[in-house]
Each structure stands twice: as structure tokens, then as C-alpha cells.
Symmetry: C2
Subunit: 254 residues, 2 copies
């Protein structure tokens, strides 16, 4: 049973050179949060084997799941699968089940046989599990989930595999206040130190919203959230609270 925590590795020269804006990171952060899987890092690296290998090797011991985005197509710059295999110390082998799946998809979509170059997409780390939808499977090996970079396919393959991630939901409380961070920094630090089981966040705004700062209290333990929330409300200056969102209530945007 792997821990419900994850690290995302985005393989993308195109993101770093601003040719496209990464949509998969923000989408995955939101989805993992809903599922109660803690996202601990996002590493966007170039399409280079050694950089992907390093990121996967570095992140794998820290989290239950490493999720990669991109670099799984048939062209020369698609090196993610090769790099994941190297990071795991596994050889790359052609998976005949996967080759057949891609042949079927290609024939259905394009109406012609899949060229040999396209079969490169069936070369995966030995022992790779074909999870999720058997007609468009999610590739998983040793806790590394290799997803396509195209957002539509990324989301589809992630969602089909998501139940296996073993998430436990987070509980969240938000306190919207009218005073600025300087005035509550010391008190907030004391509450955070006294409640290590909850994560306290402080998000200032500099626009015309009804509040100056949004404070958040979050934990997988509801008791921890309620206890830290109570402590927080006790130290805020009188009249500072604009409104509160308690665990289970929908958090308004902002």
C-alpha cells in the first residue's frame, strides 16, 4: 500500500520555452487535493533523459506516487519512458499487448496501419502494468504513473487510475480577515507552532476584495483543524474576522 502522496514531473521543453502553458500541473493539483492525495512537488524539466532520470530518482523515495506528464509519443523528443526505465533500473521491452492496443486505436482513428515508428510507444519498462481503461491504458511501473502530455489524454488516463492512489480527504477551514499580515504574523506563528498536525497558510490580497488576508487551516484530521481554528480565532484582533468557512462548507473563491 503506497502512501497517499505524489510528485509530478512535467517533461516539457515547450513549457519552459513558453510555447505552451502547462495545464496538467494545475489540473492535477486540484484533482489530487479533491482525492486527498498530497502533492509535494512539481518539477518541470527539459526533454532530456538525464534530467528526467534525476527528477524521478530524487522524488520516488519521498512520495507514494511519481506522476510524469508528457514525452510518451513516437517522436525523437519523447524520452520519458526510456528515462523512467533507467531511473527504475529496468530494461525497456516492447509490450505486445500495448502494441496491439495502439494498432487498434490507430486503425480506428486514422484508417491505416500504424507505422513502425508508432510502435515505439509500445516500448515500456519491463513489468509495466496496463491499468485503468484496457482500451487506452494508464502505464504504471513501481509507483511511477506515465501519462501523456496532451491534457485530454492526461486527464482521462489519470482519472481511470485515480481510485488506486489510496487518497484520504483533507479537511479545510478558511478565515477571511480585514487586517494585514504584519499585524497577525506573530500570533499566527504561535498558533502554527502549537498545532503541528495542521497546516496554516496566509494569503494576502492587494485588490478590492472584502478581505485583506485569507488564512487557511488544513489537515487530514478534522479534530486538528477544529482545534487549530479555535486557537486562531482566539488570537486574532477583535473585529478582524470578515467571515469563516468551516470544514465541509464550500469555500468561496479568493
Amino acid at each position: 500500500m503506497r502512501a497517499p502522496s505524489a510528485s509530478l514531473v512535467v517533461v516539457g521543453n515547450e513549457v519552459l520555452s513558453a510555447k505552451v502553458v502547462d495545464e496538467n500541473g494545475p489540473w492535477l493539483a486540484e484533482r489530487l487535493h479533491q482525492l486527498g492525495v498530497e502533492l509535494r512537488a512539481i518539477s518541470t524539466v527539459r526533454d532530456r533523459v538525464e534530467e528526467i532520470v534525476e527528477a524521478v530518482r530524487r522524488e520516488r523515495p519521498r512520495v507514494g506516487w511519481v506522476i510524469t506528464s508528457g514525452g510518451v509519443g513516437p517522436t525523437h523528443d519523447d524520452v520519458t519512458v526510456e528515462a523512467v526505465a533507467a531511473a527504475l533500473g529496468r530494461p525497456v521491452r516492447r509490450d505486445q499487448r500495448l502494441a496491439e492496443i495502439y494498432r487498434v486505436i490507430h486503425h480506428r482513428v486514422r484508417g491505416v496501419e500504424l507505422p513502425e515508428a508508432g510502435l515505439r510507444m509500445a516500448d515500456v519498462p519491463e513489468g509495466t502494468e496496463l491499468a485503468g481503461d484496457p482500451t487506452f491504458p494508464t502505464l504504471v511501473c513501481d509507483g511511477v504513473v506515465m501519462l501523456p502530455g496532451v491534457p485530454r489524454f492526461f486527464r482521462y488516463q489519470f482519472d481511470r487510475f485515480a481510485p488506486a492512489l489510496g487518497g484520504e480527504p483533507f479537511h479545510l477551514a478558511c478565515v477571511f480577515i480585514s487586517v494585514v499580515e504584519d499585524q497577525i504574523a506573530t500570533a499566527l506563528g504561535a498558533v502554527a507552532a502549537a498545532h503541528p498536525g495542521a497546516e496554516l497558510g496566509s494569503y494576502p490580497r492587494f485588490d478590492d476584495a472584502d478581505h485583506a488576508v485569507k488564512l487557511t487551516v488544513e489537515s487530514r484530521s478534522l479534530t486538528e483543524v477544529l482545534s487549530a481554528l479555535e486557537a486562531l480565532l482566539a488570537v486574532l484582533p477583535p473585529g478582524a474576522v470578515v467571515r469563516i468557512t468551516r470544514p465541509g462548507e464550500a469555500a468561496p473563491p479568493g
Copy 2:
């Protein structure tokens, strides 16, 4: 003179837990590209000293500039400056010039004296340069540029410092084609191998655009771009090219 390359470290529990979508990464990627500074990685990490230290230490030998986003405010979760100091092996010292700047800003904006907790923002790695706008300076130490997470301030402080980054512009050509990746993967790989001085990219689309794939050829050397572009056009199937954007022409979106 530092190399015109950069790595961004985004310090942000709030990005990882999907409380906010990071705007600074995409903005910086675009801006660095315009400036001709190569962005090699984006690492989004939690607000934890040891994780920030590790990211800064890892990235610094690889690039001319490490840019951090966020974690420079006055609250308990603002630990970036402390972490950067640790990564550089420098002590944290209160900078009296910076303290005075923050006192002036605070008094002007809030009309009251800056509380003691706010002065924490003037504690920086010893030797930190106050660059850019002297009334709202950009903090730079040993090639690490420490920027605020609030997008408006991030952009302001970055742009005031940007001329010092030493960028050289990239040249880009785009070839929009009507055939799918499978059909050109082998040829594209051969062109890439024969032109190591240019970066070739392949970006498929799965919508109703006028092209199936956008191919890009990019380099700081115009000669390399033109030579790789010529080789690429020579190997594409007859009739595959929808249109071409040559270096210096505006690239249409998509």
C-alpha cells in the same frame, strides 16, 4: 558574467494544494524567452526550509540565475530568504537600508509604523544586493534572485532587474503540417540528430485546427535555424506543409 540561463523555484504550498494557480511560472517563461534567457527548470516545492535549500543547491551550478518566487513576506510560512541563505552558506542579517525602505513603504501605504514582525522582511543573506528600483528593490545574492510571490510585485521586481540577466535572443521557425507525428517521426529524428545546434520540437493537436502538428526549430544561432529548417522541409512528405513561419516573422498562436 553569468550565463543567460535560469531555473525557477516556486515556493508554494498554496500552488501544490490547488488554493491558487501559479501565474509566475508561465509569465516568467514567456518573459525569459523574449529576453533570450534559457529557462531550464521550474521546481515547485513546499514552504519548507530543507526543500527550498535542496532545490536552490541543486539548480545553482547548472544555470546563471536561480529565481525564487514567494515566501518573502512577514509570516511564519515565509522561509525562502532563510533557506536561500542556508543554501549559499551565508548568515542572515538585518539590512538597515531595506528596513528603512519597508518602513517608508508601510508608512505611506498604511499610514502607521511598521510593526516589529514586518521588519523580518529586512533580514536577508549577508551581502544581498538591492538591485532594480531603489524604492522597491529586487533582492539578489550570488546569482539567486528572490522575488515576492504576489504576481504584481513579482513582475515589477523582475522587470527592473531583467537587463542584468545578459540575455541573447533566440531565433525560431515554425512549420505547420497536415500529417500526423507517426508519419514524420523517423525523418524528424534524423534531422534533429544532424543538427545538434538547433532544438527541434513537435507539438501535435487533436482539435479542428488547420494543422495536425506544429514543428519548431529554435536556436540562438540564426544560421543553425535556417540550416535545420531547410533540412526539415526536404524530408517532409510532399504536400504536408500547411504554412511556415520563418525567423523574425510573428508566430501565429497554436
